[in-house]
């Protein structure tokens, strides 16, 4: 009991160290419990929604009507004809209207009722943002509908207009569901078959079999969208994957930080108490009792940190899950918790921390009592680096600060590691923003010199409308991997609408076969390489030789001269599938398959960048707290271990500022080094993350970090460091001169 009191008193004497360790562990357990449980809930919600509302495995369009029953029977699948139509509600406000499905992609009613005649269901965010309540009237494509309820679509969970937009602005885009009878009256409707296999294995192979069957019947597939590649759906499993990764990576880093920190603190404490340990031995205490005593420190820290963190994690899981359901609307499920994960979140840190500490304690306790009683502290060893350092030519202050760093390598390593982690947290959001900024400004805005792109339902020939420029395009897939698809685009060789440049920034014209950088990186292509693809429309194989790589991140394209394209694809030389224009154009019903507004894409990116704000600020705040804890603890340790030196300096006539500069600022080198190492560590991590998400995002993001953000990150890290130093100043001021005068007197 007396020894336990010593534990409590020691912890109270050095509150900051132990509270700091607990906080790090708390963050670790909280993140683990929250991220893993949210991931489980999201996965369960998605799985339930997919199964109950019969999410399609693929959606496709063909050039003629097909017998859905025959295909369904042959491939043991459900096939249903549905469709979508992009309709204007108000100028600049578009609604994607879906035909009500009964067998596949069945909409769920979140509130209200299914839509009947002259009724429509809307997605809640669009309805609420634009003030459409249930019972209100909305005019879609010139026809009035009554809002019957709010819907959730299994094949359009993540509401976003196209993959290029990335994040939706609910004031300009939403979805609605109307009956098939109403749908058939809409202009610009596009019919789509939804297909779901009853056999749930080998979906890809089954899809290929259906495609082959359709082609064998002489049917042309005009589009084929596998659901696992459709961003409106695939973002959900991606989020589940990201959360699973986060739930492991972040807590592990935090736990590692805490292990290093607590291990270091215990090592120092036990070393400092070696005389006391020797005395305990002499008093008859057994090694077991002392081991138990010192294990109380990590046990208390880890138990309090892990339990409080896990409880916070449980509380935050529900909030996080509900928040994610606003981004990925699905029928609300009751939040579930995996008890084993919670138990693991509590026990794992306790086991790891106590294990590490046990190793350290056992090492010290093996030393005979007589030696311990002499005091190991007085036998301060000079390590190899200290001995080898030649600092004669440097100024005294620099020498002193370097010596302070090499005096305790574990302390310096801990600080370095901590600053690297804090830097990565601070710059993570900035890197994402820089990447999107870069893609927007150096990619889309730079490449597209146009405002609208219209793609027709069938190939046209002749001269395009005045003021527009024609192009042709084919959606192709790799022969060896039909999951990898991209567009081959034929443009006028001297086009001004598409601006490309080479790696040195020189403009290049599509007078030859040019692949964009994301595609080149994805397929590992360089000039001279061949790429063999098949056209998803006619199934024919073609091989193209890459002649140049364009340094643009606007998308995955292979550009070539229009006449070459037409020859390759067996089309008349003056054929085109779409036009580019600076003015909005109108076309007869059924003539246009899709319209792309570059301004809308840019606005979508702008919205995405705006949405990143809270995430960036949140990460900066978290980094500030983690950085502050780490730097404060380390600076506190430096002060604690330099008490005698500080006291001596005061006796010698050092002023407060001079002592602060020497002692508190001795970590500056490590903090700066940690920041500098944090940048490549972050860029590498983000690069790996982008690559792992590229398939799901359908966009290859460049890893970029703006110089000004780097500078801002540096300012934040240094500010954190200054705050930690400020907090430690009092400690320095409290050290009396008498400490130096009493050295060796006790």
């Amino acid at each position: 009991m007396a020894l336990f009191k010593k534990v409590i008193r020691s912890m109270l004497e050095h509150k900051a160290r132990y509270i700091g360790s607990m906080l790090l562990l708390m963050i670790s357990s909280m993140m683990f419990v929250m991220a893993s449980n949210t991931s489980i809930n999201l996965e369960k919600a998605f799985k339930t929604f997919s199964e109950q509302n019969v999410l399609s495995d693929a959606e496709f369009s063909v050039d003629t009507e097909i017998d859905t029953n025959a295909i369904g029977e042959k491939f043991n699948a459900k096939v249903e004809l549905g469709g979508t139509a992009d309709c204007e509600v108000k100028p600049g406000q578009k609604l994607r209207v879906f035909a009500m499905m009964n067998e596949v992609n069945i909409p769920a009613v979140e509130e209200g009722s299914l839509s009947g005649a002259s009724e429509i269901m809307l997605n809640r965010l669009f309805a609420e943002t634009n003030g459409y309540g249930i019972g209100d009237t909305i005019t879609v494509a010139g026809k009035e509908f009554t809002v019957s309820g709010y819907c959730l679509l299994p094949n359009f969970i993540y509401v976003v207009e196209s993959k290029e937009v990335m994040m939706n602005d609910p004031s300009t885009f939403g979805v609605g569901v109307i009956s098939k009878a109403e749908f058939n009256t809409l202009p610009d409707r596009h019919y789509v078959y939804a297909l779901r296999f009853n056999e749930r294995d080998n979906i890809q192979t089954q899809e290929t079999a259906v495609k082959t069957e359709l082609r064998s019947q002489g049917i042309t597939i005009t589009s084929w969208q596998s659901t696992d590649k459709k961003i409106n759906v695939s973002y959900v499993p991606m989020e589940v994957g990201v959360l699973s990764k986060v739930s492991v990576a972040v807590p592990l880093v935090m736990l590692l930080l805490t292990c290093v920190l607590l291990g270091m603190l215990m090592w120092r404490m036990i070393k400092g108490e070696s005389v006391l340990i020797g005395t305990f031995y002499a008093l008859g205490y057994r090694r077991k009792a002392l081991r138990r005593h010192y294990l109380m420190f990590p046990l208390l820290v880890s138990a309090i940190g892990a339990v409080v963190g896990s409880v916070l994690g449980i509380l935050l899981t529900d909030l996080m899950f509900k928040f994610l359901l606003t981004a990925f609307p699905m029928p609300v499920q009751e939040t579930i918790y995996n008890n084993w994960l919670i138990v693991f979140a509590v026990l794992f840190p306790i086991t790891v921390l106590c294990g590490v500490t046990l190793g350290i304690i056992s090492k010290v306790l093996r030393i005979p009592a007589a030696i311990l009683m002499k005091g190991r502290e007085s036998q301060k060893k000079i390590n190899l680096i200290e001995r080898k350092l030649r600092l004669e030519r440097l100024k005294f202050n620099t020498k002193f600060q370097i010596r302070e760093q090499v005096r305790s390598l574990s302390r310096s390593f801990f600080l370095l590691f901590g600053v690297v982690v804090a830097t990565m947290l601070i710059l993570y959001g900035f890197t994402m923003k820089s990447s999107v900024d870069y893609m927007l400004h150096k990619g889309i805005k730079e490449m597209y010199n146009l405002k609208y792109e219209y793609v027709f339902t069938s190939v046209k020939t002749g001269v395009p409308p005045t003021g527009t420029e024609q192009f042709n395009a084919a959606y192709v897939s790799l022969v060896e991997n039909d999951d990898t698809s991209f567009y081959v685009v034929g443009t006028l060789p001297d086009t001004e609408r598409i601006r490309l440049k080479d790696s040195s920034g020189r403009p290049i014209k599509p007078e030859q076969n040019i692949v964009t950088l994301p595609l080149a990186q994805k397929l590992n292509l360089k000039p001279g390489d061949r790429v063999t693809v098949f056209n998803t429309e006619d199934g024919k194989e073609r091989t193209f030789i890459v002649e140049q790589v364009a340094d643009t991140y606007a998308g995955e394209f292979l550009f070539m001269p229009l006449d070459r394209f037409n020859t390759e694809f067996g089309l008349p030389t003056n054929a085109y599938i779409g036009i580019w224009s600076d003015e909005p154009l109108t076309f007869p019903q059924g003539e246009v398959q899709s319209t792309k507004s570059i301004d809308a894409i840019v606005a979508g990116f702008g919205h995405l960048i705006d949405q990143m704000g809270p995430m960036i600020y949140g990460l900066i705040f978290a980094a500030f707290i983690v950085g502050l804890i780490i730097i404060y603890i380390v600076t506190g340790l430096v002060v604690e271990e330099s008490r005698a030196n500080i006291s001596l300096m005061k006796v010698f006539g050092y002023r407060k500022k001079e002592i602060n500069r020497l002692i508190l600022s001795s970590n500056t080198i490590i903090v700066i080094l940690g920041y500098l190492l944090g940048i490549p560590a972050l860029l590498g991590t983000v690069g790996a993350l982008y690559n792992s998400l590229a398939d799901t995002l359908q966009v290859v993001l460049p890893v970029k970090l703006n110089f000004w953000y780097m500078l801002l990150g540096f300012v934040i890290v240094m500010l954190t460091y200054e705050v930690a130093k400020l907090m430690c100043r009092k400690k320095v001021a409290r050290i009396p001169m008498s400490e130096a005068l009493k050295v060796g007197m006790e």
């Binding site: 036998q379 301060k380 060893k381 000079i382 200290e386 001995r387 600092l391 004669e392 005294f396 202050n397 020498k399 002193f400 010596r403 302070e404 090499v406 005096r407 005698a644 030196n645 001596l648 300096m649 005061k650 006796v651 010698f652 006539g653 050092y654 002023r655 001079e658 001169m737 008498s738 130096a740 005068l741 050295v743 060796g744 007197m745």
Partner: protein, 232 residues
Amino acid sequence: MFITVENLKKSYLMGESKNEVLKGVSLTLEKGEIGVILGPSGSGKSTLMNIIGGVDHADSGSVHVDGVEITALDDDALTDYRRNSVGFVFQFYNLIPNLTVAENIEVVSNISKSALNTDTVLEAVGLEEKKRSFPKQLSGGEQQRVSIARAIVKNPKLLLCDEPTGALDYETARGMLSLLQKINSDFGTTILMVTHNTAISGMANKVYKLRDGEIVETIRHDETVAAERIEW
């Protein structure tokens, strides 16, 4: 007079009771002289030296050093006083273990206005070969020499030595005292030494016997004994 202490009083509170450590001490020492304060443990000799060194404050009375009343100085002025005028030599050397010999000396020369060259003082204490060594690699006597070199590098007006031979063996201690005597004669530094070793008093110009916070006897030596001839 270089040092004038008048009716100096100092007490500490020990819980409820008051412990009077100095009960009206007065002494004087001329510039360039060696003074020794002799007394047993608890007599107040270290407290007296700390007040003269500007490390501690007196309750009443005054201390003048080289014409400056240091008992009237505020903390900042006392810092300047210690920084520019006083050198300290401690019983247990108080060297910074992770700094080399030369760097330990630079701790002081770094903040001194007119510091001597580090190599010069190392030569003066006979340690020019050890400048790159760490304290742990030196003997006790060598460490005390470094401590002396560190104290004199700023060329102080006053050198305060607290039991400078207390942790040394007989021969090393005598060598140390010779060194202090040499510094006194070479640099003209006034030295005030605290010790309980009565044998040391022979090398002092003035000896103050302190007992229970009071000076019970002051002895003036017109002729001082060379340190190497001192025996105990």
